[in-house]
């Protein structure tokens, strides 16, 4: 198990922001570094809970393998699906190129 960190470095905050695709200003980075460190310190309280051999819980429905019939049903039209897209072309979403950078 990784060791609990008491404080995040600005480098770590910048790495996490990159993973989450959030662009942060230098000012934001410093502010978040302080705030996130405080929050991490707070949730580190969990360290005091003995969880040895305890199964993790990811959901509480008590349901398993919820299936439905594999039937073809009407769906949204291409036009409707594209209706909120900021940029579209010939029935496609337009995205920035990623290979030529």
């Amino acid at each position: 198990m990784a060791k609990f960190h008491k404080a995040l470095t600005t480098h770590e905050v910048s790495h996490v922001a990159h993973l989450a695709r959030l662009g942060l200003s230098k000012e934001d980075l410093e502010k978040f570094q302080k705030q996130l460190s405080q929050i991490i310190e707070f949730v580190d309280e969990l360290e005091n809970v003995d969880t040895k051999g305890i199964e993790p819980t990811s959901q509480v429905t008590g349901l398993e393998n919820v299936f439905r019939e594999d039937e073809i049903k009407p769906s949204l039209s291409q036009e409707v699906v594209l209706s909120n897209a900021p940029r579209k072309h010939n029935g496609y979403f337009v995205v920035d190129a990623i290979f030529n950078q």
């Binding site: 695709r21 934001d28 949730v43 360290e47 199964e55 429905t61 949204l76």
Partner: protein
Amino acid sequence: MLVDLSIYELSDGLRRKKFSAKDIVKECYEHIERFNPTVNAFITIRDKDTVLKEAEEKDKNITFDSPILYGLPYILKDSYNTKGLRTTAASNILRSYIPPYNATVYQKLLDVGAILIGKTNMDAWGHGASSENTDFGPVKNPWDISRVAGGSSGGNAAAIATRMAVFGIGEDTGGSIRNPSSWCNTTGLKVSYGRVSRYGCIAYVSSFDTMGPMAKTVQDCANILEVIAGKDPYDGTSSPKSVPKYSDHLTNPVKNITLGMPRECFGEGLDSEIRKLIYDAAKEYEKLGITIKEISMPMLQYGVPVYYVIGTSETSTNLARYDGIRYGQGRDKFSKETMRRIMLGTYALSSGYYDAYYKKAQQGRTLFIKEYHKALSECDAILMPVEPMPATKLGELINNPIQNMLADIYTCQTPVGVPSLALPCGFTKDHLPVGMQIVGKMFDESLLLQLGYAYQKVTDWHKKSITL
């Protein structure tokens, strides 16, 4: 005033033609015009003339067999997708998003002929306990406009308190229905996870999110819940359990019921006036023949960290879909509070920290569930405060991330999935409303509603209205 009447009375009056749906709708718009500029409960108000026409249509077609919510004006938290009507989740990201489909809860209300009058303000994506984390201006508490309405479903509570609608539909992930209900003197039910379909409600924490009624009374909540609850093929986590006719069981005797009061909830950190008001409520319950029992839930102190680590982890993945490509604006439009939550979640899920944070919190969740199981085997339901303090001043929570988290201290049993009813139990010396909550076993909404109904029969806190 018509909007002061219960759903049952309004529905009965409509059938007997004592008044019309149009009359009720008109009254709601009068209140919106009068109070909304001050409290800012709405993000989108539907065009009055269009809604009045819908009401006329309902008046023409109503019969004695019409569903109970037929012709009644209501509001939706702006997290519910409404086809053709903008849905923002209170974020600039979705400021001009027009959903191409309906949330199941909205579809069900359309089907029974309820009339939507608007979409209400909230903390963006459900991220907050004060309805200040919104790109549409904070919601103000109608009881004291220098204070917040609570959150994240704050617009609903503020609108119901000022009678801008007959009822509302909120969403509760860590207290978002109960917190504003208690701070605005309204009644709200956080249902068992899976009781009501989540389909089409913009997700905050998928494994905690619950959709539920907000209204003036417990009886109204029962009338609403029996319409919106049930299995939905579009939500695999919705429960196949049959839906009781909650309103038929409200008057069931509550004698011989035991209410547990966890001593950990009434110690340090709880406002002394709130403590006293909840003890008073316990005394009322004793008069009704209910046994009050002190119980112990030492795990409660870990509730916020468990809730917060899992919550931010899930929200960081849920909000990853906002890429500004298919719909909505780019990620730079997230608010600071939301960015903080996304980053904490991303951190907790990232390589090297997953076991220490996410998995650890999931194990804590298991222990938390056991704690509630044990407590609810010693009593039938648990009586607790909703909030450690009355409504905070504007700016207090939004500028203090840790305080903002701690506002959820009594309402973060959402990882357990159990239902909880929040209802008014008095006022502080400064005339600020105080609520209490009754937490029950999974799918035991019936008992919670019976207990709430019995209390509202012998008290009149829920009838106190506002002098703005």
